[in-house]
Amino acid sequence: MSPGPLCADDLRAVALEVLDLATRAGATAADAVAVQHAAFSAGVRLGALEKLSDARQKRLGLRVCVGERTAVAATADLTRDGLAHLATDAVALARATQPDPANGLPVRTALATETPDLDLYDATAETPSPDAALERARAAEVAALESDPRLTNSEGAEFSQDAATIAYASTLGFNAAYRSSSFHLGVEPVATSDGRMQRDYWYARARHLDRLEEPVAIGKRAAARTLRRLGARRLPTQEAPVVFEAEVAASLLRHIAAAVVGQSLYRGTSFLLGKLGEMVAAPLVTVVDDGRLPAGHGSRPFDAEGLPTRRTVVIEGGRLTSYLLDTYAARRLGLVATGNAARAVGEAPSAAPTNLYLEAGSHTPEAIIATLDRGLIVTELIGFGVNGVTGDYSRGAAGLWVEHGEIVHPVEEVTIAGNLLDMFRDIELVGNDLLFRGSVAAPTLKVRRMTIAGA
């Protein structure tokens, strides 16, 4: 609200102050993350201003260790009094828990020694320009709705920006901060034909405003995606090849991510448990996690425990080569942390991907579709029907039916089902269209065969 500048030094100082208070309260080790956000968004609907939002937030999360016991506490009250309460609460909570020798901070020698500039910050994110924001949203929506008379309605278009400063400090002597920014523009038109409606959306996201895709291009893409759904039908229940558009292929990678993060392995909740070194995908599949991609949506100079981020090959030529680990998970599994610790301010660190992607292949999406004699292109997936323990997969789908290499009609109200291990081993073709719209990305993928349930 009061538009104060984001000050990394202030946040670092607060983090150090709370570490001192924690130590006095009885912590044998501690680390703290302090985050400050300034967010702004503007939305239009049917050409008119619909919403404006402006926000300031500052929060601090503290992890304390008392010997082999640990707990986490978080607050928005950064006064000395507030921090002192936080420290005593955290220490009291830690004393109530049971010890685990795997708890604790990383070893000092593993810590990052520098904070590389990964091109994550655009200072314009700090100072919103409501008029320019509205103009972008309006231009995207107009471009969408003007594309075709069947686009009769809209859930609107929204432009948003976020500037953040993230500071991390620990009693090992680590104390560093970095800034990041993000800009987003999305539009969701609604089309009507024969009394039935369809919606779809498109969006762009970038860390720098001047690298954000043009509003008109976003609007036109949203319009085309919505229009192609008109007249959608169900399919008869059958087995058929399935092509995942890049945007939905990324969701398959998120299931891989959930199966290779440390906590899923030591808890035994991953379908990839015990498969390190084994073929878990077709040989043309290589999956990489890279925390240092310049301007990447998941990039960060160091992880949430102060370890340097890095490039980790998760699947190489179909073989599972590495898990993604934070310090605790690494100790539990007898492996080495991979710089993948992440944490919400109020939570303990756990492993998460940074920028996770499936390496591009050589086929254009059009060439992949041309290989379908009869098959389904999936353009949207809904629901949560994925069992992370067994890899069993069953989700609602919408898309396009292909015969003899040509799209013949849109499809809705069907499910696609299989098992993630079979699906990844059955990847026949990988597209050349890898683009990062978020921190997890994949190109178009063709899976040899899945069960489609419909009429």
Partner: protein, 487 residues
């Protein structure tokens, strides 16, 4: 935390927010031609304890605070929020939010009158946050022992106890100030089982706006533990689920997520005011079989989805959505109710001070019918009987919805047969309830585990259902059979 203060006094003493401050800030918020404005203050303490490997090794406590200022002009909303609650940040926020209104006018005088909620649905002698940590840890340890005792193949138990204590105060430009104390507790259990090279998982849990003792009543926590363990073990026997359209019988309770996805979201006022819901303009028409009466009720005592007042200060209510098959009402917040010319229904909810409210469900359920569950099963020659579900989702505009079964059985010749693997069920919201052929007398509400997401905001909700028979729904298994026919 021992806060016995009423929220009004708490916010006044902690942040210096007096009635005079509220009047002045609301006045600035309406300094342009706005229709409406409100202030939402929140102070939330949450505590989570988690057990794994038989030990409570993870604990966290989170205190969040903040205030949101909203200004509404026509269908436009300005919203500003901050976690730094001072009179000057509030005034600044009011001006920022007020920019939504096009033209300047004189600051408006607002006179504040404290109001009280018409019901007191979850007054607890001792909120769950106040229960000693040792008792909570003992509960989790008992859950772990019970689950492992159920079957030696249970190799790990992940149990968490999440407790929240929220103080809110809402001041509106209509002059009302209303506050509420909102406790919430939830026990969640996941059991991992191993048999040879096979691993399976079962989950269960529950809670509500309840005291800690609720979880121990009748050894509820141990029953939850056995349920999670039973589901994990059952999955070893599960065969591939069928694929295709078939008769589906849903068991009572949590399968009511059907109503939440197929009907509830599509009846939220915002989508209907904008005409983007598949249910838009269907008021007064038949959208379900005459056996179906569907209610959203935020006034059920101690339920997870209940509130004394919604997050705009409107008292919660019981709203008939579908009466004997006919669409009767939408779920409304203030903005959409005003634009549609109807009364708000007490469904304006928000995740926190960092979010503007919108129409949301509370506890959504179908009234009981006459059939016995046995009659319903017996009436099915071949189909699926689904009793436990994970999450669901809906495309409001096309009306297509999914919900994913985690425990289901084949029905053959009127008898429950083998368990099948989890599968997603998909259907069309505006017509799925027209296919309800039988409704059981066994209405049950869920155990208190549900969280609903919409536009990035999560709120606790409840669902309920009697046993029902749906004559045709697509089951998304892997076993595609020739001869899978419409019934």
């Amino acid at each position: 935390m021992g806060d016995v203060l009423r929220p009004e006094r708490f916010f006044r003493e902690r942040y210096g927010v007096s009635e005079g401050t509220l009047e002045r800030v609301l006045g600035s918020a309406l300094a342009r031609h706005a229709d409406y404005g409100d202030l939402y203050f929140e102070f939330r303490t949450s505590e989570t304890l988690a057990l794994e490997d038989g030990l409570v090794k993870r604990a966290s406590k989170d205190v969040s605070q903040g205030a949101g200022v909203r200004v509404v002009a026509g269908d436009k909303t300005g919203y500003a929020y901050s976690d730094d609650v001072t009179v000057s940040t509030l005034e600044h926020a009011a001006k920022t939010a007020g920019h939504i209104a096009a033209t300047a006018s004189d600051a408006r005088a607002v006179a504040i009158r404290p109001a009280t909620a018409p019901h007191d649905l979850y007054a607890l002698p001792s909120p769950p946050l106040d229960t000693p940590l040792a008792d909570k840890i003992a509960l989790l340890e008992a859950v772990d022992r019970e689950a492992r005792r159920h079957d030696p193949r249970i190799t790990n138990v992940l149990a968490s106890l999440a407790i929240e204590h929220k103080l809110v105060m809402i001041a509106t430009s209509a002059g009302t100030v209303v506050s509420d104390v909102q406790p919430l507790a939830r026990l969640h259990i996941a059991c991992i089982a191993q048999d040879g090279g096979q691993r399976q998982q079962g989950t269960y849990g529950g809670g509500g706006r309840q005291a800690f003792a609720f979880l121990l009543d009748g050894s509820r926590h141990l029953r939850f533990a056995r349920e999670a363990a039973r589901q994990a073990i059952l999955n070893f026997e599960a065969v591939d689920a069928p694929a295709g359209e078939m008769t589906v019988v849903l068991g009572p309770g949590w399968p009511g997520i059907l109503l939440h996805e197929a009907i509830g979201h599509g009846l939220e006022g915002d989508f209907n005011r904008k005409g983007t819901s598949a249910f838009a303009r269907l008021l007064g028409t038949k959208v379900a079989s005459e056996l179906c009466t569907v209610i959203d009720d935020g006034t059920l005592p101690n339920r997870r989805g209940s509130l004394n007042v919604d997050d705009e200060g409107t008292p919660t209510a019981r709203t008939v959505l579908i009466e004997r098959g006919v669409l009767r009402g939408y779920l409304q917040d203030r903005l959409n109710a005003r634009l549609m010319g109807v009364a708000p229904t007490g469904n304006g909810r928000r995740e926190s001070y960092a979010h503007a409210p919108m129409p949301r469900m509370t506890n959504t359920f179908m009234l009981a019918g006459d059939a016995t569950p046995q009659e319903i099963i017996r009436s099915v020659e071949r189909g699926l009987y689904a009793v436990a579900f994970g999450g669901g989702q809906v495309d409001i505009t096309s009306g297509k919805f999914v919900f994913s079964a985690s425990e289901a059985y084949l029905i053959e010749h009127g008898t429950i047969g083998r368990p099948v693997k989890g599968a997603t069920l998909i259907g069309n919201g505006p017509d799925v309830l027209t296919r309800i052929g039988m409704v059981g007398h066994d209405l049950a509400l869920d155990e208190g585990i549900g969280t609903c997401g919409k536009n990035g905001q999560s709120v606790p909700v409840g669902v309920g259902l009697p046993t029902v028979r749906i004559d045709g729904l697509t089951v998304g298994g892997t076993r595609a059979e020739t001869g899978s026919q419409r019934p």
